[in-house]
């Protein structure tokens, strides 16, 4: 990748294209903003007049997910990140972080399945698997692959140097 900005080279086709894009952007922006506001107003009007939306439950849940995410979930994630920085040696840190990111995302999806509250006595086709074991197996694979890749990279680097 060159160190100069493409803008510094007016002869390139990207230069003109980008400037044309900017010119059209000056009209695009207010359209996007106004359009978005209109769509949000439509959402509110539709939800209120539709008659089928719980006008207490939905706002409560909207606020709850925001507060729980920003006030509990993310601070805990940041805390774990700080622990990784504090206790994991630099050599392994990237691999641990990557594995932790993937594990966290998979666990978010898996948690309601593992808890299994959706199961029903008269319908065995709902949640038919052993999700707890499935999650454990997936986490093992994630950490194995991530740390394995780290080791492999190291070995290759050592070979290249030697």
């Amino acid at each position: 990748m060159s160190a100069t900005r493409p803008e510094d080279e007016p002869g390139r086709s990207g230069y003109r294209a980008r400037h044309e894009m900017r010119a059209s952007g000056s009209r695009l922006r207010p359209m996007l903003i106004a359009g978005g506001v209109l769509v949000m107003v439509y959402a509110l009007v539709g939800a209120v007049t539709g008659g089928d939306v719980n006008l207490v439950g939905v706002p409560v849940f909207l606020v709850a997910v925001l507060v729980l995410h920003d006030g509990v979930f993310l601070p805990v994630v940041l805390g774990v990140g700080a622990l990784v920085r504090r206790f994991v040696s630099e050599r392994w840190r990237s691999a641990v972080r990557a594995a932790a990111v993937v594990s966290l995302a998979v666990s978010v999806v898996a948690t309601p399945l593992v808890l299994g509250f959706g199961r029903s006595a008269d319908n065995s086709s709902i949640l038919p698997r052993a999700y707890g074991w499935g999650l454990i197996l997936i986490l093992i694979v994630i950490w194995g692959v991530s740390l394995g890749i780290r080791k492999g990279l190291e070995r290759r680097r050592r070979r290249n140097v030697g």
């Binding site: 978005g36 949000m40 939905v58 993310l74 990111v101 966290l104 995302a105 998979v106 978010v108």
Partner: protein, 447 residues
């Protein structure tokens, strides 16, 4: 205001048609007096409107008083977030991916809504038979893959939640409010969607379907506004040359996020892509698990139809322009039988293919004197109530020879949980519209 400098304003003989022009708006035109009182009034009203707008914009840009510095503690401190991984470029790249994913979810979700609640202008074909299976599978898979994308995106902008001062002017305060609406709506959609595919309804104090639908509009509106506001920042961030450093780099993090989306997809998509079922350890359904190797959404017990469905006096009532017929199970079995291979495609994202045998709906329509090529039907279940007790069969589906009132699955009589004694099975439709335990069919000719 649309500028139209090329417009001829001397044609003031027809003031209504001329209307307010750019020059009138700015008050610079000297011809106003010649246009008669109407033009003057329009010009004045317009000036007032423009003034009001300008005042409103000025007020939005009025600086707000700075909050006391003493409040600036904890995460509000300078440098409270040490990670060097956060950058506008990372946020922009995650944002673009998330924008595409949300657009896919919105379009496929809206489509599913329109199929189930068709307005007068909407038309949905019966072919290709697996189109809905694809769009709804894509809807759920994309939504699940959004989990790491949204997580990383919110992480990357988290410090901005604590920016100081909280808002410089009312415009910034409004923008932050719209961001809160967007983040809230996005989290709402993912969390409620995940709970719904896991069929865990207790944490949701509302009916899922309509809430998920209207909050989707909120999310997409918030997204459009957000992109509009941030457009210059996004363009700048994505066109700037990349600086390389020795970090778990931005690319490393993007790779991890992508890997997370991939793992989630592979471990859940088997609920609709049957060959991947063995590795989809987190799929809420297995396409072959259920009575007669097919999953069930609502059982006969849950629907409260066990007794009426098993009653030997059961009759399928078919009503049409020429009258009505009441068909017993034996009478239904005596009509010409056809076998089709069609999927059940659930709104929850799973699907499974079945081999169904039964009577063509178009044959039943003809039996009661309707033109099967130009009719619609309403199919009612034996259920006493519930949102999905009835379903409408539009002309393309009624006409289609593969639309059956099925009596058998895989060669055996339907299991009670699959809709014994008779169920509707039609191509390219959501599972909730494949009415089970059919008790009555009303066919109407279209004019």
């Amino acid at each position: 205001m649309v500028r139209d400098p090329g417009r001829e304003v001397t044609g003031a003989a027809d003031p209504e048609k001329t209307g307010p022009t750019d020059r009138e708006e700015t008050g610079a035109a000297g011809h106003l007096g010649t246009g008669g009182p109407e033009v003057e009034a329009v010009g004045r009203r317009n000036r007032l409107g423009a003034d009001g707008l300008r005042r409103a914009v000025a007020w939005l840009r009025e600086p707000l008083p700075a909050p006391p510095e003493a409040l600036r503690r904890g995460p509000l401190r300078d440098g409270a977030f040490p990670s060097k991984l956060r950058s506008t470029r990372l946020t922009s790249q995650l944002g673009v991916a998330l924008g595409v994913a949300f657009a896919i979810c919105f379009v496929t979700g809206l489509l599913s809504h329109l199929i189930q609640h068709p307005p007068f202008w909407f038309w949905w074909p019966a072919r290709p038979v697996g189109l809905y299976r694809f769009t709804q599978g894509l809807h759920v898979a994309t939504g699940l893959a959004c989990v790491p994308l949204l997580g990383a995106k919110l992480w990357s902008v988290y410090p901005r939640l604590f920016s100081w001062p909280p808002a410089r002017d009312p415009a910034a305060a409004l923008e932050r409010l719209s961001i809160a609406a967007l983040v809230s709506a996005a989290l709402f959609q993912l969390v409620s969607g995940i709970l719904n595919v896991a069929r865990w309804y207790a944490p949701m104090p509302f009916f899922f379907t309509t809430a998920h639908y209207w909050v989707a509009w909120l999310a997409i509106g918030g997204l459009l506004t957000h992109v509009g506001v941030q457009l210059p920042v996004i363009r700048e961030a994505l066109s700037r040359p990349v600086e390389y450093g020795p970090q778990l780099s931005r690319r490393g993090l993007l790779g991890a996020v992508g890997a997370a989306a991939g793992v989630i997809t592979v471990t859940t998509i088997g609920q609709t892509v049957a060959p991947l079922s063995p590795v989809s350890l987190l799929a809420p359904r297995r396409p072959t698990t259920g009575p007669q190797h097919l999953p069930v959404n609502k059982t006969a017990l849950a629907a409260g139809v066990r007794d009426s469905a098993l009653n030997p006096d059961y009759r399928l009532l078919v009503v049409g322009p020429a009258g009505r017929v009441a068909l017993s199970t034996a009478a239904l079995a005596a009509l010409p039988q056809h076998t089709v291979v069609l999927p059940i495609s659930c709104v929850e994202g799973w699907s499974s293919t079945g081999t169904w045998s039964g009577v063509r709906l178009r044959d039943l329509a003809a039996l009661v004197g309707a033109d099967p090529d130009n009719a619609e039907a309403e199919v009612e279940s034996l259920e006493a109530g519930g949102r999905y007790r009835t379903s409408a069969v539009a002309t393309p589906h009624l006409r289609d020879p593969s639309t059956l009132i099925a009596l058998r699955l895989r060669g055996e009589p339907l299991a009670i949980d699959h809709g014994y004694p008779a169920r509707l099975i039609a191509p390219n439709r959501p599972g909730v519209m494949q009415t089970k335990w059919v008790g009555r069919i009303t066919v109407r000719g279209k004019t």
